[in-house]
Amino acid sequence: MRIQVRRTGGFAGIERRAEVDTSDRPDAPAWQTLAEQALADGRATPPPGVPDGFSYEITVDGRTAYAADPRLTDEQRELVSRVLKEGA
């Protein structure tokens, strides 16, 4: 499973993106569960955020969903922070 996260906006206005490929990971099932839940809770189009709030684009194997601070679900929050931290 390929999980991509793109974060835009924020006070700095600096875009960040990262990707995790779960295929070689021992914890792949946990990633997949998290990614599917985060995706299911996302929107089909970018939701209106707040000025300077982060916007997120989450793509899992070609399927994309959108979310924006400060209204992420717990799974979305965990997924975007792990992908941006651990991903390449």
């Binding site: 906006g9 700095a12 875009e15 707040v50 000025p51 300077d52 709030g53 209204r71 717990d74």
Partner: protein
């Protein structure tokens, strides 16, 4: 109105609506609508009832947010007993969660504690209140004494600060690229000015009106810093976010009003993408149509007008910009040229046909924005 029930599924971590004279929590951690839809149709009323109430609540909040966007936020009465010319600050600690507002750690009039983030947030809220009151006679963000609330230590290594529609939120930064977002007072002023804009011109956060929204926040954020330091236009650094970047980052700040595009140039962050003039206007769908990019153009116009006039920038150039923001003529979808034209009009109305008018006209001319 929403039924108050301990079974309501929507988890609103906002404040008790009776605490601050009628606030509604605007942003909630919401169970996804499609799940609520399913639950609302459930045979078991113990499940269906709360789900229905949550759907109603969610719809109510969405409508309210939309109305806030369309109409601007309603005026809120100051808390009883609050002195009109004093801020009413409360600082909360999210303790590295993303639950708002968090635990109350400092109230108006209480002594500084040992947490520097709390103390800086408290001071920054005060500095912002002070500039708006002393320079423009504005009572807080909404003009009616709105209590100023801030949450610090939001999330873990969270690289941002924002105004969520009713309060300030500050992250600690990751320590590698960004430090604590309470460090620069202009960042605090910038975010609170988003609140002022929300309550006044309510500029749409997209494209040129979005870049104007961003620019207005940079302008007053910088003025709050200059006012706090007692600086003249010539003495000011005209930087946004100085002190926010970690030592290893190649850059002095996030934006420069004096020289847009020169604030940072770093292997990780890339190069500051801001243009200074219309010639280099960036067309993009990202960042809400480049709101943090093209704000460099009106930012630079303000810098040029303020430095041409000299002295304290909040007195003349700042007054003109404030008049436009709050004057009622600026449209929500204003273009740069609309804003520029209104500053020329405001300069004439406020100061007559003198230096101020000329400085404002010339500033826009230099950045390539037409005034009518």
């Amino acid at each position: 109105m929403v039924a108050s029930s301990d079974k309501t599924i929507t988890q609103c971590n906002g404040r008790d609506m009776t605490t601050h004279g009628g606030f509604q929590p605007v942003f909630c951690t919401i169970v996804p609508p499609h799940i609520l839809d399913r639950l609302a149709q459930h045979e078991d009323s113990a499940l269906a009832g709360p789900a229905r109430r949550s759907l109603e609540h969610d719809a109510y909040q969405r409508t309210k947010r939309r109305l806030t966007t369309v109409l601007g936020a309603p005026a809120v009465a100051p808390p009883a007993g609050a002195a009109a010319d004093q801020p009413h600050r409360t600082v909360y600690d999210a303790r590295h969660t993303q639950d708002l507002p968090g635990r109350k750690v400092r109230e108006e009039g209480s002594d500084p504690g040992s947490d520097a983030s709390v103390n800086r947030a408290y001071a920054g809220l005060g500095a912002t209140f002070e500039l708006y009151l002393k320079a423009y006679g504005r009572h807080s963000i909404d003009g009616h004494g709105l209590p100023l609330d801030a949450t610090v230590h939001f999330g873990e290594g969270y690289d941002n600060a924002f105004w969520n529609g009713e309060q300030m939120v500050f992250g600690d930064g990751d320590g590698e690229v960004f430090l604590d977002f309470t460090i620069p007072v202009d960042v605090i002023g910038h975010e609170l000015t988003h609140g002022v804009t929300q309550h006044t011109a309510n500029l749409e956060y997209f494209g040129q009106s979005g870049a104007l929204n961003e620019s207005v926040s940079d302008v007053f954020g910088s003025l709050i810093k200059q006012y706090t330091l007692g600086q003249t236009a010539a003495e000011a650094d005209w930087l946004i976010g100085a002190g926010l970047l970690a030592p290893r980052v190649h850059g002095t700040a996030l934006r420069s009003m004096k020289a847009p595009g020169t604030a940072y140039d770093d292997p990780d962050l890339g190069k500051d993408p801001q243009p200074a003039t219309m010639e280099h206007y960036v067309r993009t769908g990202r960042d809400n149509g480049g709101v943090h990019i093209n704000s460099g153009i009106p930012n630079h116009a303000f810098y040029l007008a303020a430095t041409a006039l000299g002295g304290h920038s909040w007195e003349k150039a700042g007054q003109v910009w404030y008049d436009v923001l709050t004057g009622g003529e600026l449209k929500q979808d204003a273009l740069f040229t609309d804003f520029a034209t209104l500053t020329v009009k405001a300069a004439r109305e406020r100061f007559g046909a003198g230096n101020e008018l000329q400085a404002v006209q010339k500033a826009w001319e230099q950045v390539g924005v037409r005034t009518l």
